[in-house]
């Protein structure tokens, strides 16, 4: 556990394996932490926006206008499962949806804390960079696709291809997850408190999947790994923080990692490649 013993900065506890590179920012370099156009908001300054009868792009513009005015807590009423709501918010913010979202909800966000008091459709929080998202009900397929960072939590079940192509961050699922969960994941962690359907972790390059129940079957390149104490503590804390009532104790979770059969794929002979592709 070199990453823990050598702890030097807040970012140093990310215990990466494989060829993933560790890159650290200097805290003194302010430009690494701020955006052009980033606004100071006051979390005690609250407002609400009614989504009834307006399109996603109008609502998203209204959210941005409210941020510009310094509102730090925004409640969205009547989202009505419309698509692409809350997309592209690059600011710290408390955003609460009083209902369900459709497809591509809260995609490409960087910074906000979002609570969805309902369900989310396909590709929720796609390409999320940082922040925290909590979904109270179920999630559709491709939950957290290409996730880069932050915490993505669903208290119910998630659909197929959860965490497809994810490159960082944590996805936490209170219920079960669908087929091809962790498909082509490259970094980050997925925690599933329930069961996972077929072909879990298919073609994964790196990253870790923790499963409380049973995976129906493992995909190519996904192999069981060994849990260590640090991970058990980390799991316990994550599940507790997310306020998920998980029946399985953290120590009983199973860990799955990349078998890296495809890792040196480019160096293989044609016959060997054929063998892998089957």
């Amino acid at each position: 556990m070199a990453g823990i013993t050598k702890r030097t900065t807040a970012f140093d506890d990310e215990n990466l394996s494989g060829r993933s590179q560790k890159l650290y920012f200097e805290v003194t370099e302010e430009e690494n932490y701020t955006y052009y156009g980033n606004h100071e908001v006051d979390f005690n300054k609250r407002t609400s926006i009614d989504c009834e009868g307006i399109d996603a792009h109008v609502l998203n513009q209204k959210i941005r206008d409210a941020i510009r005015k310094g509102y730090g807590s925004i409640v969205i009423k009547n989202p009505g499962a419309k698509h692409s709501l809350g997309v592209g918010i690059l600011n710290k913010l408390n955003l609460i949806f009083e209902g369900s979202l459709g497809y591509f909800g809260i995609g490409c966000i960087d910074g906000p804390t979002v609570r969805v008091n309902g369900r989310v459709g396909w590709s929720c929080a796609e390409n999320m960079m940082s922040g925290k998202v909590v979904v109270e009900n179920n999630a559709g397929s491709c939950f957290g696709a290409a996730l880069r960072g932050g915490d993505l939590i669903v208290k119910g079940d998630a659909g197929a291809r959860t965490g497809i192509d994810m490159k960082g961050g944590t996805i936490l699922i209170g219920g079960n997850a669908g087929a091809y969960t962790g498909f082509m994941m490259q970094r980050g962690r997925i925690i599933v408190c329930g069961d996972v359907n077929a072909n879990m972790g298919d073609s994964m390059y790196d990253g870790i999947i923790f499963v409380g129940g049973e995976p129906h079957s493992l995909g190519t390149d996904c192999v069981p790994g060994e849990m260590n104490e640090h991970e058990v503590r980390w799991l316990e804390q994550k599940i507790k923080n997310a306020e998920i009532d998980c029946k399985v104790p953290a120590s009983k979770f199973k860990k799955y990692v990349a078998g890296r059969m495809l890792w040196n794929y480019d160096n293989l002979e044609p016959a060997e490649k054929k063998g892998i592709l089957g």
Partner: protein, 313 residues
């Protein structure tokens, strides 16, 4: 990227036409080419209701055909005489467009023979025959078709519908969904996806004597289910079998006289959202469609891969 929807009201008759219209209009963005409804009214005690067309719609909202009125009249007369020849007695007839008709008729003979012969008439296709099933499809969005055929007051228990984005065949009525499972009364199917072993399956089914009216891959699901049911296999079992025997990415919804079912392929690549309550089950490609009939917050879920569900009216 088509849109599919289905709704079933348990043990009560409601305005299912309005329910389906609202849901399908909510899916308009998934398929603007054509819209189809398959709705189940109160089953007739005696006789059958038949929906058929004798030509193609020229373009959306045009409501006209390339064929002359004389041709249409000849074809309609030909259908009438075939019905008469088989001993079918038409008790009621109506039409909303010059090319689409609704007949109620008494009949005691072989439905397959009758249907097969009717379809020998040029450009004539039976959209549906059943005790309760009425299948209506045309070019345009849900409201256009609903207004054209007066569907907003259709009373029944359940229905399925489809908004089509044409990918593998033409934009015309014959390639529009839903598909009736010829020649089985009261069975219809809507589908979202692509089937990759269409031609192989079609050749097998054609050898068994089934007819295909379009080159649309979705038609095969209706015929496939019909073939299974003809061999005494239950709907749910037939749907489970289809997951292994039909190849591709697909989600489909099937309805019979008193059942509604949905199936999702092994890859779970096509969407479906389900809302279930004590009185009603609604399923659609997107939650936004279901929310058109339930404006308040509801608890919905996605079925998983290779999942089959069947609900009873």
């Amino acid at each position: 990227m088509c849109g599919i929807a289905g709704v079933i009201n348990k043990k009560k008759t409601v305005n299912v036409g309005e329910q389906m219209g609202l849901m399908l209009q909510g899916l308009k963005h998934r398929g603007p080419d054509s819209t189809g409804y398959a709705m189940y009214g109160t089953p007739l005690k005696k006789g059958f209701v038949m929906r058929f067309k004798i030509s193609e719609n020229e373009a959306e909202k045009v409501n006209a055909t390339v064929d002359s009125p004389a041709d249409l009249k000849n074809r309609k007369n030909a259908v009438d005489s075939i019905l008469k020849k088989h001993g079918a007695k038409v008790t009621k007839e109506s039409s909303s467009t010059p090319y689409a008709f609704r007949y109620i008729f008494d009949f005691k003979g072989d439905l397959t023979d009758l249907a097969t012969e009717i379809e020998t008439v040029e450009k004539t296709e039976i959209l549906s025959i059943g005790k309760g099933l009425e299948l209506i499809k045309d070019l345009g969005d849900a409201n256009t078709v609903s207004n054209q055929y007066g569907l907003d007051k259709f009373m029944g228990t359940h229905g399925i519908g489809h908004t089509r984005m044409a990918t593998e065949s033409d934009v015309d009525i014959k390639s529009a969904h839903p598909y009736w499972a010829f020649p089985f009364e009261d069975v219809s199917v809507v589908h979202n996806g692509q089937l990759t072993n269409y031609w192989g399956n079609r050749r097998v089914l054609e050898r068994k004597g089934y007819r295909f009216n379009s080159n649309c891959d979705s038609e095969i699901i209706a015929v496939y289910i019909a073939d299974k049911m003809a061999n005494g296999i239950e709907l749910e079992k037939a749907m489970h079998d289809s997951l292994d025997e039909l190849d591709g990415v697909f989600t489909y919804v099937v309805a019979t006289k008193d059942q509604l079912g949905m199936a999702k392929d092994h890859m779970a690549a096509k969407p479906m959202v389900i809302y279930e309550s004590k009185d009603i089950v609604a399923c659609a490609s997107e939650e936004v469609a279901i929310r058109n009939i339930f404006p308040h917050e509801i608890k919905t879920y996605d079925p998983y891969e290779a999942e089959v569900k069947v609900w009873q009216a």
